[in-house]
């Protein structure tokens, strides 16, 4: 029996809750609150947009920018005018109740209702996990059409108070579109650069780093809104611009903080928006006119379908990856309307627009229809049509190398055949970025770090953290391999101690993470990573361990090494052997090294399971260890990983886990943070112990 949540998207349930709450309030006799427009635009909308902009997948977005812009601009314009025009016709024919609604009012109504809503799209598309291309097309469209909506709305609102609308006004209106959109982007870029620049100097006051991100972004939004520019575009531009530089500058913890706060705020906002929509429906004054409402709904759908069909036909002439009819259907079907339309309608004043209530009723009906009907049916339709879903690919170092190689190759070919195309300009931008911008905005030596190295470090860090958080062997990534450096380079002498590839302070950072997280189980997890092996002064039994390990050279080669980075096999025990090290005296090397199971000797618990599944390990296993007297109790404690439950805040879930709870959190799982700063507070374990 499918659960409710797999049929009904969350947004629908929230609206229903809102309806119930509103009904309850009304039943008690109080007046339920309505979603006021300034609360919506000032407080509820920005977190969602910032979250979307900050974590925007930039590569697919820029690759499809042309398509997105055409859908956003031309599509919205078409919707607005088509709908407005047809509604005007309906009003003229609709009898006495509707006759008085003029063309401008109808056009205004059309412009309000025609914009695809990012909140609604996000809420629904998050759950259906559609492939990246479609997701970015519909979502990008919903973000970028804000400029069009703002311009049209203000334009028609002003014109409604004019006696005459001249050609000049129309031309000025057309120009104002460029001002609004480009101005918004400019404001966003300026604030983004300022934020990036600020983050360069925050190395001594790490705690307020997240504040700068939020603050500058919000200021970008407010500044843009102040001048009637597109606040949404400003916010997106600020997030996109500041992100690479800020992430290179801020500490690991700040990055986590930013991610969590953004997700938290956007979730809260989204929930509130939908609940308020429900409440407002109950609370508002409605004026139901069958003709108006039904024809609005009908023409909305028709306009959307026609618009998508025509535009796709046009766009496919220029696209390499053409949009198939299936894609077109999803794009058309995903054109959901939401709270922005409602708030814009609410903003209309009664003086000029007496039929405001009717408009609001129609808007709410369309919103309900799209969110409920389209939102609920899109998931089975996606399955029915076998639309490609999102691929859970783990970014691997190979892919990164290949992608970069391909980029350079294509740039080179473009240069050779003399065609200044896409790759050429992207390459120029990258070079400019590397040469000038990064030096300004990124602190310290990270400004010179090439992308491949940064990616490699990121992956190493991520894996180290995964290891730590899983507390052991519990969550081995699916691509567990026994491939070691011996397998690919047999000339490497076993005793050769290859120097660590990372620089000293990178090592220190990784070591620090491991150190701080391995407090309680320090004794069990001596080290599982070559990084911690370079002369750890505070591991007293370390030398003993080394001796033993040298005896067990055979063992090492057979153990799983699931750090895909090369293991310097000399001293790189895995978790299992680290556990052996928990009681050095009890360790006995096994002589039969044919097929070695994973040895886990846990002196704390009576039974020593052969294969470790940390998920089932009792917490008492941890506490059973005698804490070493020198350890400070402050700071991070190694926690046994609990089985994932919905809402588990598992930041670094290995990419292979596929449970619904993890997919739900998928929105939260962007790439892992950068490495922490070397000097991040006191070391938790005093040196020399």
């Amino acid at each position: 029996i499918p659960s409710v949540s797999s049929i009904v998207p969350e947004s629908c349930l929230l609206i229903v809750v809102g309806l119930l709450v509103g009904g309850l309030i009304k039943g008690v006799g109080e007046k339920p609150p309505i979603l006021k427009s300034d609360i919506f635009f000032l407080f509820l909308l920005p977190p969602i947009i910032l979250d979307a902009g900050y974590f925007l997948p930039l590569r697919p977005f820029t690759e499809n920018l042309g398509t997105i812009l055409i859908f956003a601009v031309v599509g919205t314009l078409w919707n607005a005018f088509f709908l407005g025009g047809l509604m005007y016709a309906v009003c003229q024919l609709g009898g006495p109740g509707l006759n008085h609604i003029g063309l401008l009012a109808n056009l205004l109504f059309g412009s309000i209702i025609s914009a695809v809503d990012p909140v609604a799209v996000l809420a629904v598309f998050e759950e259906i996990h559609i492939n990246e291309l479609l997701h970015i097309l519909v979502f990008g469209e919903s973000l970028l059409n804000d400029a069009v909506t703002v311009v049209l709305y203000h334009l028609f609102e002003e014109f409604a108070s004019f006696e005459q609308v001249t050609i000049l006004d129309i031309i000025l209106g057309f120009l104002s579109f460029f001002v609004v959109s480009l101005g918004g982007v400019l404001v966003g870029v300026i604030y983004g650069v300022i934020a990036a620049f600020t983050s360069r100097f925050t190395s001594h006051i790490r705690v307020i780093e997240p504040l700068f991100v939020f603050l500058y972004s919000y200021m970008a939004y407010l500044s843009a809104e102040l001048f009637h520019l597109s606040g949404i575009m400003a916010l997106i531009a600020a997030g996109v611009v500041m992100r690479p530089y800020v992430e290179a500058n801020i500490s690991h913890k700040s990055h986590t903080t930013i991610k969590y706060f953004l997700k938290m705020w956007s979730s809260v906002s989204e929930t509130l928006i939908f609940i308020f929509l429900g409440v407002s429906t109950v609370a508002g004054h409605h004026y139901w006119n069958w003709t108006f409402v039904i024809s609005t709904l009908f023409f909305c759908l028709i306009a959307r379908v026609l618009g998508v069909l025509v535009l796709t036909w046009f766009i496919n002439k220029f696209r390499i990856v053409k949009l198939t009819p299936k894609d077109q259907f999803i794009i058309a079907y995903g054109g959901l309307r939401g709270a922005i339309a409602f708030s814009l309608g609410y903003l209309l004043d009664y003086k000029h627009f007496g039929m405001r209530d009717m408009f609001l009723t129609a808007i709410i009906t369309v919103i309900f229809f799209t969110v409920f009907v389209q939102g609920m049916t899109i998931r089975p339709l996606v399955d029915l049509l076998a639309v490609k879903k999102k691929q859970e690919t783990k970014r691997s170092i190979n892919e990164e190398i290949h992608t970069q190689f391909l980029d350079h190759l294509l740039t080179g070919i473009e240069d050779i055949c003399g065609h200044y195309g896409h790759h050429h300009w992207k390459d120029k931008l990258n070079r400019f970025n590397k040469k000038y911008v990064k030096k300004c905005l990124i602190a310290g030596e990270r400004s010179k770090e090439p992308q491949l190295i940064a990616f490699y470090h990121k992956m190493e860090m991520k894996q180290a953290i995964e290891l730590v958080e899983s507390g052991g062997i519990g969550k081995i990534p699916s691509a567990v391999s026994t491939v070691s450096i011996q397998n690919i380079n047999p000339q490497t002498l076993p005793l050769e101690r290859v120097l660590p590839a990372l620089s000293k302070d990178k090592e220190e950072e990784i070591r620090k993470i491991l150190r701080t997280n391995l407090q309680k189980t320090r004794q069990r997890l001596r080290s599982y990573n070559r990084h911690t092996l370079v002369a750890d002064p505070y591991e007293e039994a370390w030398n003993q361990m080394l001796l033993r390990r040298q005896k067990a050279r055979q063992l090492e080669q057979k153990m799983n090494n699931y750090l895909t980075v090369p293991a310097h096999k000399v001293d790189s025990p895995t978790m299992s052997r680290a556990r052996i090290g928990s009681d050095p005296l009890a360790y006995e090397p096994k002589e039969d090294s044919e097929n070695l199971p994973i040895i886990t000797i846990d002196p704390a618990s009576p039974q020593s399971p052969e294969s470790v599944d940390l998920m089932s390990e009792e917490p008492k296993g941890c506490s059973g260890l005698p804490p070493s007297p020198e350890e400070d109790e402050e700071g991070l404690v190694m926690r046994v990983k609990e089985p994932s439950s919905p809402g588990t805040d598992d930041v670094f879930t290995p990419g292979t886990s596929d449970s619904p709870s993890n997919q739900r959190m998928l929105r939260c799982l962007s790439d892992p943070g950068p490495r922490p700063e070397p000097e991040e507070g006191e070391p938790f374990i005093p040196k020399g112990q």
């Binding site: 190398i401 740039t411 240069d415 070079r431 391999s481 070691s484 057979k558 895909t564």
Partner: protein, 212 residues
């Protein structure tokens, strides 16, 4: 000036997507590069200013003269290439078409990947060894002079191990992974749709960059 002799096999080869307009444009470009000679040598590529910033410039130029890419049966490097060869290389970068069926698509994809494979495999032995892979990564990072060689090496090693684990899976300690063969290479690229990524648009025939 018309397309030089020997154009019949050229047009049959490229009849799929390269129009005569594009051939014209490429021919113009060829003449620019070759300074009105009939053939191009490696030195002619030095006259392209933008190519200097490209970290894998050497490999790209090399690929033009690689006989395996020129669809010749022999192996090794050609001394010079004529326009037909130039077009042959360019044909590897033509965009995908709507009306291709499964088999054509598969061949299309394999062709492109073969081109890439030849670029990685510099000693022409049919597999990418660890040393060659290291060489690739070093070249990619060659734009950063202060970087230690160790970093490039360990990245390449890590990538190689990952490739080995993808292609072969579990390996005992005595097995040695010789190198990435073409089949393994295909496996590695499964996630990336090369047909759509590896293309250069020749649409805009007016932009012709200048050489020295």
């Amino acid at each position: 000036p018309g397309v030089p002799q020997g154009s019949a096999p050229v047009t049959s080869l490229l009849s799929l997507a390269v129009t005569s307009e594009q051939i014209e444009h490429l021919h113009r470009r060829f003449k620019q590069l070759s300074q009105d000679q009939l053939t191009i040598r490696k030195e002619n590529f030095d006259s392209i200013p933008d190519l200097e910033f490209n970290p894998i410039r050497g490999k790209i130029v090399h690929a033009f003269f690689d006989k395996r890419n020129l669809r010749q049966e022999s192996d090794g490097l050609a001394e010079e290439i004529n326009f037909e060869d130039f077009l042959t290389i360019m044909s590897y970068f033509r965009p995908i078409e709507m009306n291709m069926d499964e088999e054509q698509l598969d061949r299309f994809r394999k062709e492109k990947l073969k081109f890439l494979f030849h670029m990685y495999d510099s000693d022409h032995d049919g597999k990418i060894t660890l040393q060659e892979y290291r060489n690739v990564v070093e070249e990619l990072l060659s734009g950063n002079p202060h970087l230690e060689k160790e970093s490039a090496r360990s990245i390449a090693d890590g990538a190689m191990m990952e490739a080995a684990s993808i292609c072969v899976g579990q390996m005992g300690p005595d097995q040695v992974y010789e190198g990435i063969t073409f089949e393994d290479f295909l496996k590695m690229w499964q996630g990336i749709d090369i047909e759509t990524k590896m293309h250069v648009r020749f649409l805009n025939v007016d932009t012709i960059a200048h050489c020295y």
